[in-house]
């Protein structure tokens, strides 16, 4: 659970912080820094089908089940039974919650036609709300929706408005945290001039269709007395209901694992510090078509199965049978792993459903299969019909989800021809831990596959481009020939290697000749040194003799001078 305390915001002072009620909607409590304002009404506005009712109901159910705050759901959008069956799929059991007295649903359809015969008021609205609130001691309420109320009494908008205002002020007096849903009009937040009365907190839900694929967005338009995320956040309606995807506030809490996993490709493990990738990390394999991306993904899968681990393989371009057949040609027996119940395929055309639904499906399958490794081939096809920002936000969430579950993710991404290779269209490259780039190298009439590690966090990795060989014996990486003529692959590499071997033989001979010559030279030098040494010794002996004889001469001279002095002076001994 995310509370306001978990959100790091140095600008807030806890003493002044508005009390908030968590909604339990994944991501929303992060964006709103704790939830909705306690004791105040929040307007949730959006077009039909945007998920307003679900937002309201999830807020109530979370309060009832996790916060000991019973809730009242007052709905004019349809019968109670219909509502109950709609939300059963999301794991919400309205009947049980009602029996336990934690939730009270007062739902009706406004489709019934009434004959207006004169003046009336809407006092019963207040009576119903008060009755429900008092019955279960509610702390949270939701009214769904303003639109249906105004529609039912379309002849008297002023009456509906004044009755609603009375109801809102009663809710505030009772300190009830409320969610009120309404449709958005062209230029105002909601129709019927209600926005000025519901301005403490306004959440906009949107549901737009971009290139035939529906995407959902959420934005907190205002939140009086509180900071909040101001962006437009994509959200999805998944198996657990609404999920907001606030990439900017993704917590980085996942525990790291230093265990290394083999990639299934010997040469590749060597390039990755000799051990492969970290367990629970995310690996991106990008490249243009035909560079062997799927094969790399399949190798990861096969290696995991070999360790006895479960793998979930999502394919958005090929069927399970196509992949198994194609991989059998490079000695990857995927069918065998499927039979042994270690490998699960989920193959689906990317266009069958919207992006958020794809991700919801993926998440559901991940929960069912409980794999240790997930292959998504390719993530780039998910972007069809969706704006890039959406896909990257969704994938960010997915990567985060897999990481926090400790599941290794291998994603392939197709780079369109002409695009910069070291640039993923989905802008997820900064999120992945290991990025392998599959390239093609064209030389001397051949097209050869190459692979290099663009980045790999937390490990020493090779800076080499290696040639990626696919053969009936399997998949392998061999060092490319790197010579004075540049990088050579394929037959050119083989030729260059052979030529180098020839050259090597010649060089060996040359070097032995050189060393012989050197030995001779050494002997010559030694001889010269010896003779010079002899000369020096002779010189030294001569000098020593000369020194001795000059000393003797000096002694003789001094004795002669002393004798002369003695003969000339009285006291010759005292004179120097």
């Amino acid at each position: 659970m995310v509370t306001s305390n978990d959100v790091h915001d140095p600008g807030d002072r806890s003493g002044l912080e508005l009390p908030k009620s968590p909604t339990g909607i994944t991501g929303f409590d992060e964006v709103s820094k704790g939830g909705l304002p306690t004791g105040r009404p929040t307007l949730v506005s959006g077009p039909p089908g945007a998920g307003k009712s679900l937002f309201a109901l999830q807020f109530l159910v979370y309060g009832a089940t996790r916060c000991a705050e019973p809730g009242v759901f007052l709905s004019f959008e349809g019968s109670r039974d219909k509502l109950a069956s709609d939300v059963r799929g999301l794991g919400i059991d309205l009947d049980a919650l009602e029996q336990e007295g934690r939730l009270l649903v007062d739902a009706q359809s406004m489709a019934r036609e009434a004959v207006a015969t004169g003046e009336f008021n809407l006092e019963a609205l207040m009576v119903r709300m008060a009755f429900a609130v008092d019955k279960i001691g509610a702390k949270r309420v939701a009214i769904d929706s303003l639109e249906s109320l105004f529609a039912a009494f379309s002849s008297r908008p002023a009456l509906v408005r004044s009755e609603l205002l009375r109801l809102f002020s009663w809710l505030e007096d009772r300190g009830l945290t409320a969610v009120i849903t309404g449709e958005r009009a062209e230029d105002t937040l909601i129709r019927h001039g209600m926005e000025e009365f519901l301005s403490d907190c306004v959440v906009l839900l949107d549901h737009r269709v971009v290139e035939e694929v529906a995407t959902r967005r959420l934005r907190i338009l205002k939140y009086r007395g509180s900071t909040h995320g101001r962006n437009e956040y994509p959200f999805l309606i998944g198996p657990d209901g609404l999920e907001v995807l606030p990439i900017t506030s993704l917590g980085l809490y996942q525990r790291v694992n230093s265990e290394r996993l083999s990639t299934g490709i010997t040469g590749l493990d060597e390039m990755l510090g000799g051990l492969g990738v970290f367990r629970g990390s995310s690996v991106l394999v990008s490249g243009t078509s035909g560079t062997g991306k799927t094969t790399i993904g399949a190798s990861f899968a096969s290696a995991a199965c070999q360790r006895g681990e479960r793998v979930l393989f999502f394919s958005f371009e090929e069927s399970q049978w196509e992949i198994m057949r194609n991989m059998a040609s490079v000695s990857l027996d995927l069918a065998g792993w499927v039979d042994r119940g270690l490998l699960y395929f989920h193959c689906e055309r990317p266009t069958t459903q919207g992006l958020e639904d794809h991700l919801a499906t993926m998440r559901r399958l991940v929960e069912q299969v409980a794999p240790t490794l997930v292959v998504i081939d390719p993530v780039s096809s998910l972007s069809r019909g969706t704006s890039r920002g959406d896909v990257s936000a969704m994938l960010t969430r997915q990567i985060y989800y897999l990481k926090s579950a400790g599941i290794t993710a291998v994603m392939t991404s197709l780079t369109e021809g002409g695009n910069d290779l070291e640039h993923t269209e989905l802008s997820i490259s900064s999120l992945v831990d290991t990025w392998l780039l599959a390239i093609t190298m064209q030389t001397s009439g051949e097209r050869n596959r190459g692979l290099y590690v663009l980045k790999s966090r937390g490990m020493a990795h090779s800076n080499q481009i290696r040639e990626f060989l696919l053969s009936s014996e399997g998949v392998s990486l061999v060092p490319v020939y790197m010579g004075p003529d540049g990088v050579l692959t394929g037959s050119a590499r083989a030729a260059a290697e052979a030529a180098e071997a020839d050259l090597g033989l010649g060089a060996e001979q040359e070097s032995s000749q050189l060393s012989e010559a050197m030995e001779l030279r050494r002997k010559a030098v030694q001889t010269r040194v010896a003779s010079m040494w002899a000369d020096f010794e002779a010189e030294e002996a001569l000098t020593a003799r000369q020194i001795t004889s000059s000393k003797k001469r000096e002694q003789v001279l001094r004795a002669a001078r002393l004798e002369q002095g003695r003969q000339r002076s009285v006291k010759p001994e005292d004179r120097p």
């Binding site: 009434a114 004959v115 207006a116 015969t117 004169g118 008021n121 809407l122 019963a124 119903r128 009755f131």
Partner: protein, 109 residues
Amino acid sequence: MSVSAGVQPGEGEPAPVRLQLALFISGASPASSRAVRRLRDLCDRHFPDGYDLEIVDIYQQPEVVVSRGVLAVPTLFKELPLPVRVLIGDFTDESRVLAALGLPTSTDS
């Protein structure tokens, strides 16, 4: 609720089933009292064979308000004869009340 089988009430035909009404009002407010008086008077005049009128105070029986889905006050349910009709308002528009209750509207009234 007892329903007589084969009854096909229509415009202009007297209803063979006794009129059964449920009126939701808010307590003892002057507006509510006026609405009750107006309805009684109208029914007394147009249904000489008698009718059943149940009056529900929304403040006294809120659970019935919920179960019947009442929002407007006053709300009148014409339970019988079928079909059930819902009338909201204080019965000032007499011709609409009569039409909804299954009586022909006299042009001169």
